[in-house]
């Protein structure tokens, strides 16, 4: 009989201790947050993304196919980044690198841990798509949820395989000329990692498309439909089979490669540049009393929540893409993406309070009002990429007024989000519980009012 995976054993123990430490109620409530967010988003998502439900039964099958395809690609994109953070840039490497770990067991554990911690994704999708079951078709809903769960299952495994493969690619002689073409000013090895999530998306897009077609076929009782719906699971199984083999070399090689990449980045930067963080240039326009705290928060956010901070650019791009469509509703869709994105990203500002080292709070004489305002200013700054990127796109495609209105609404939401974050930042324990329902309510009101009022 094979030995149980020791990494899972330790993880299970850690979770149990964490639950004892945080209390069962808090653990359960924290786990329910994504589902609660999904639930409050349903009224917002329904009119914008599930509009085909109003267009009769003929529109149902293609409508579901489209939404499953889009959600599936989104799931792949998110999980690909997640698996990269867990498997390649793993926070556990500092511990595991000292020991003769079994690379296959470690890789499977980290892949499984990520999947476990993201098991809310299929559940949240099931909640977001509930209007389909209620208003149109339980069968269509069920197949859509199964297809998206299958896509998630595939994505974790395919991402693990591709990221581990990227380690080999980063070192390979034959890939060097290609990586040099792609890398820009990054170290060569980094190019392999930068493009790996895109490669995951490209490699699995076909399976996601087939699964979405499977949903469409299933509605017409075509037997091929069910096969296509679960096809991603089969592809995931195949990818999982090769994870063990690829991990044998890649797990160990990843640490020194990453160390080299980080060191090269440091060597590339001037000493002063190494200390600078995103948006630090804005400090020169702030009064000294505020600048100190804003600088602290900009550094805190950039160093500990960089993904959340830079995602504002991704939301901006997504919103601009939504605005590029020739459809009349494109400015509204872009605005909805922007509003939801802005409120979701601002959550970083609330969560930063939990990263704050306790000694800082105890040792520094904190100017409370300045600290509060600073948090709001930092968050406001981070959100602007999501606000302004779609403006020229919508202007070009739909004219100035829709562009200005859409951007104005998202900009106003970024101010509201920043103010809310500032108010909630002083209540680390309950800030989250105040912030989430309030912004969900505001987002719902803004989106519904905009649609009903035909503001765009």
């Amino acid at each position: 009989m094979s030995e149980p995976n020791p990494y899972w054993w330790a993880y299970t123990l850690r979770r149990a201790h964490r639950r004892e430490h945080d209390g069962t109620l808090r653990t359960v409530l924290t786990g329910l947050i994504p589902l609660a967010v999904a639930a409050v988003l349903v009224p917002v998502v329904r009119p914008v993304f599930l509009g085909f439900l109003d267009e009769g039964s003929q529109a149902l099958a293609p409508g579901l196919q489209g939404i499953v395809l889009r959600l599936g690609l989104l799931i792949v994109a998110v999980t690909a980044l997640d698996v990269y953070a867990a498997l390649i840039r793993s926070d556990e490497r500092a511990i595991l690198d000292l020991h003769p770990v079994d690379p296959e067991q470690v890789s499977r554990y980290l892949m499984g841990r990520t999947e476990r911690e993201r098991r809310w994704i299929p559940a949240a999708v099931a909640i977001l798509l509930l209007p389909v079951a209620i208003e149109a078709s339980v069968v269509g809903y069920t197949f859509s949820v199964i297809a998206l769960a299958a896509v998630a299952t595939m994505s974790f495994r395919a991402s693990a395989l591709m990221h581990l493969g990227a380690v080999g690619l980063a070192e390979s002689e034959w890939a060097a000329p290609f990586l040099d073409l792609l890398r820009g000013s990054n170290p060569r090895a980094q190019a392999a990692f930068i493009y790996a999530p895109g490669a995951v998306l490209a490699a699995t897009a076909g399976a996601v498309w087939l699964a979405s077609l499977g949903v469409q076929f299933s509605l017409s009782n075509a037997p091929l439909g069910m096969v296509l719906v679960i096809l991603p699971v089969l592809i995931g199984g195949l990818a999982s089979h090769y994870v063990g083999r690829v991990s044998q070399r890649s797990w160990f090689r990843a640490s020194p490669i990453l160390a080299d990449i980080d060191a090269r980045y440091s060597a590339l930067e001037q000493e002063d540049d190494g200390l600078r963080v995103y948006l630090e240039f804005t400090l020169r326009w702030l009064p000294e009393r505020l600048a100190l705290y804003v600088e602290k928060d900009l550094r805190h956010g950039w160093r500990l929540r960089r993904t959340g901070v830079t995602l504002a650019w991704a939301v901006g791009v997504l919103s601009a893409l939504a605005g590029w469509s020739g459809s009349e509703s494109a400015p509204v869709t872009s605005m909805v993406v922007g509003v939801l994105g802005v409120f979701a990203l601002a959550l970083n500002g609330v969560l930063m309070e939990s990263d704050q080292p306790a000694f800082l709070r105890e040792w520094l004489s904190v100017d409370k009002s300045a600290a509060m305002a600073a948090r709001g200013i930092a968050v406001f700054g981070w959100l602007q990429a999501a606000v302004w990127l779609p403006l020229p796109v919508i202007w070009l495609r739909h004219g100035f007024l829709p562009a200005a209105t859409s951007t104005g609404i998202v900009f106003a939401c970024s101010i509201v989000a920043a103010v809310l974050v500032a108010l909630c930042s002083r209540r680390p324990r309950w800030g989250l519980w105040v912030y989430l329902p309030v912004v969900a309510g505001i987002a719902g009101v803004v989106v519904t009012a905009t649609r009903l009022g035909g503001a765009l």
């Binding site: 020791p6 201790h17 020991h99 020194p256 090269r264």
Partner: protein, 236 residues
């Protein structure tokens, strides 16, 4: 006597920055060696290459004849290591963390290891409640598990209270007497003088001295360190 640790023409560069420059060192099995040097001398870089978390730009590093770059798993199996900033799982107790390491290394002996570092009494507390010194002791205990042939310690005695430091020095000396090899990097010259048999001095990435400690006069190590450092500066 066979070599436990060998650096063979090892060079590590980051672009134009040379962190370690053509280091050739061979350490026999059963030796207690101190590695000293100024900040940025290349001590941690050298130890990271020994632990396999950095790859040499040129040359190779072997542990008990195993090439660390080519066979990192086999190399880690014969080596126990404590990095400069040891990491532990915050939501495990000290004992559970060592049990985890023992499972990974396929060995036993958690209780004796806890006793050796003086942590048995605190072993059922979560490591997140530990002080920096206590975490370091748990990391040391983890490095001692499975009786590794080579023990690598990067500033591992820093932050320990004097009785704990003395106890651990004693444990390390016992391991050396049993045939293990210890490579201890430190800023504290006094520590090297007291426990090490041999001292290797790095300055600006190069080995500038390699001496038998017993052959140095009292206080001689500090004098030698300052002289060599000065000479290296002048040469640059």
């Amino acid at each position: 006597m066979s070599a436990a640790i060998v650096f063979e023409g090892v060079r590590k560069t980051y672009g134009r920055v040379v962190a370690v420059d053509r280091v050739d060192v061979s350490i026999d099995a059963g030796a207690f060696v101190g590695l000293i040097g100024h900040n940025g001398a290349g001590k941690s870089t050298s130890l990271k290459m020994l632990m396999g978390t950095l790859l040499p730009t040129e040359g190779r590093v072997t542990v008990c004849g195993i090439d660390v770059s080519d066979n990192p798993r086999d190399a880690r199996a014969v080596m126990g290591a404590v990095p400069e900033e040891p990491a532990v799982y915050e939501y495990l107790t000290g004992r559970e963390f060592l049990e985890f390491v023992a499972k990974v290394r396929g060995c036993e002996g958690v209780i004796p290891a806890l006793e050796q570092v003086g942590m048995l009494g605190d072993s059922d507390r979560l490591t997140r409640e530990y002080s920096q010194g206590m975490r370091r002791k748990i990391a040391l205990a983890a490095a001692l598990l499975g009786d590794p042939k080579v023990i690598v310690l990067d500033e591992a005695l820093n932050g320990l209270d004097p009785p704990s430091a003395a106890r651990i020095k004693g444990v390390l000396r016992e391991r050396v007497d049993d045939g293990a090899t210890v490579l201890l990097s430190t800023h504290v010259i006094d520590t090297v003088e007291r426990v090490a048999d041999r001292v290797i001095m790095l300055a600006h990435g190069r080995v500038v001295a390699d001496e038998v400690v017993a052959e140095l006069a009292e206080g001689g190590l500090e004098r030698l360190f300052l002289e060599r450092l000065e000479a290296t500066r002048d040469a640059r």
